[in-house]
Amino acid sequence: MIGDFLDSLSESVERLGDTIRFLVRILVQVPSAMLRPQLIFDQIYNAGALSLVIIMLSGLFVGMVLGLQGYDLLQRFGSEDALGTAAAIGLVRELGPVVTALLFAGRAGTALASEIGLMRATDQLSAMEMMAVDPVRRVVVPRFLGGVIAMPLLAAIFSMIGIYGAQLIGVQVMHVDAGSFWSQMQASVELRDVNEGIVKSVVFGIACSLIAVYQGYYSEPTAEGVGTATTRTVVTSAVMVLFLDYLITAFFLK
């Protein structure tokens, strides 16, 4: 029992080390991949533009829920004018990056992992190697960069739509004064809060994209292996995002 636990622990540490080595391998290839920007644009489209609908819808609903919950909580203290502040800080610092990263892992991460995994299973990657094309440079790096660029933009869009969702419920339905909603928000949200959100979304983008391409690239070359890689992508990404979220928050609030 304890032996099993130790085995699985050492396996996790091994996989972590392997992932970091893969990151170094990707980073080394980034400059040469920059020479073919079209590949990266295509991946920004795949990871970003195609995730836009789900991000915007989720952002709207998360914002509307914040509007309802925040109003209900704040009116107990007679300070429902602070709804704008509460919604904006909650979205910009926490919910925007985290929920976007979780959705990103589910929408774009799984697509990346299964695509690369299927390339592995159908020997396309080996074929590239045979033609002296480095599959990391040709396939992995553009997908990684596309995800890293798309994720912060998606998180910003999520937060913006969320704030309008909170405004929709707070101002239109609950009749919080629109002026105090916006002016209290502008008075108490600082640039530091926005920076925290941006840092988080960049870090989450790197983590989710890296996990997705790693799981796809090193998946078992079978149908089952592709499925496992996809599942692992979502589970590992979610755990990593929440763990990193705690670290970054603790760092910013020190």
């Binding site: 079209q38 644009f41 295509d42 920004i44 489209y45 970003g48 533009a49 836009l52 203290f77 007679g78 300070s79 904006a88 910009v92 660029i149 798309a150 912060p152 933009l153 998606l154 910003a156 869009i157 937060s159 913006m160 704030i163 916006w182 928000m185 502008q186 008075a187 108490s188 949200v189 600082e190 640039l191 809060d193 926005v194 959100g197 941006i198």
Partner: protein
């Protein structure tokens, strides 16, 4: 080729939307606005016995109009007072030297701010001048404490034999 042009258009629109959202978050949700360079200002200090909950960045206003912000809060170990440094906008350069600074609270739960009441002097505050007339913050807990103490004293003196049954 046609397909890749449509794809690039989609990518471009997505990136534009993303940067528009970032721009919105940095300018519309914070008080930074578009002013990347700061307006010219001069610095005035004031010493308070108690600043309560005053924070750096709190507004300094005169007759309800914001004229500046609190730039720094320090402590004077000579006379045990808080030293508040205020940045006053250069447009408001005709504030009499004998004006007084008071710390008020915005609403019941709001933050605290400094209100300047004009004096009658002919000379005006300049960079690094000090406002000597100050009124400390009204600390609600102290007020309630005093009220309760007085209340107890009052009820004890009026009915010395009464009070609560032991």
């Amino acid at each position: 080729m046609r397909k890749s042009r449509a794809l690039n258009l989609g990518t471009g629109l997505f990136v534009l939307l993303g940067f528009a959202a970032l721009f919105f978050l940095t300018t519309q949700t914070t008080s930074h606005g578009l002013s990347f360079r700061s307006e010219p200002y001069y610095v005035v200090t004031a010493k308070f016995r108690d600043i309560g909950d005053l924070k750096v960045g709190a507004p300094v206003s005169m007759a309800g109009v914001q004229v500046g912000r609190v730039a720094a809060i320090g402590f004077d170990s000579q006379d045990f007072k808080a030293v508040v440094t205020m940045r006053i906008d250069d447009r408001f350069n005709q504030i009499p030297t004998d004006s007084s600074a008071n710390i008020y609270t915005q609403g019941l739960l709001g933050g605290q701010y400094i209100g300047l009441s004009p004096g009658g002097a002919e000379t005006y505050l300049k960079n690094h001048s000090e406002i000597t007339f100050t009124n400390s913050a009204l600390v609600l807990e102290k007020l309630i404490g005093q009220f309760l103490a007085n209340f107890n004293k009052g009820s004890n003196s009026s009915s010395p034999s009464g009070g609560q049954p032991q």
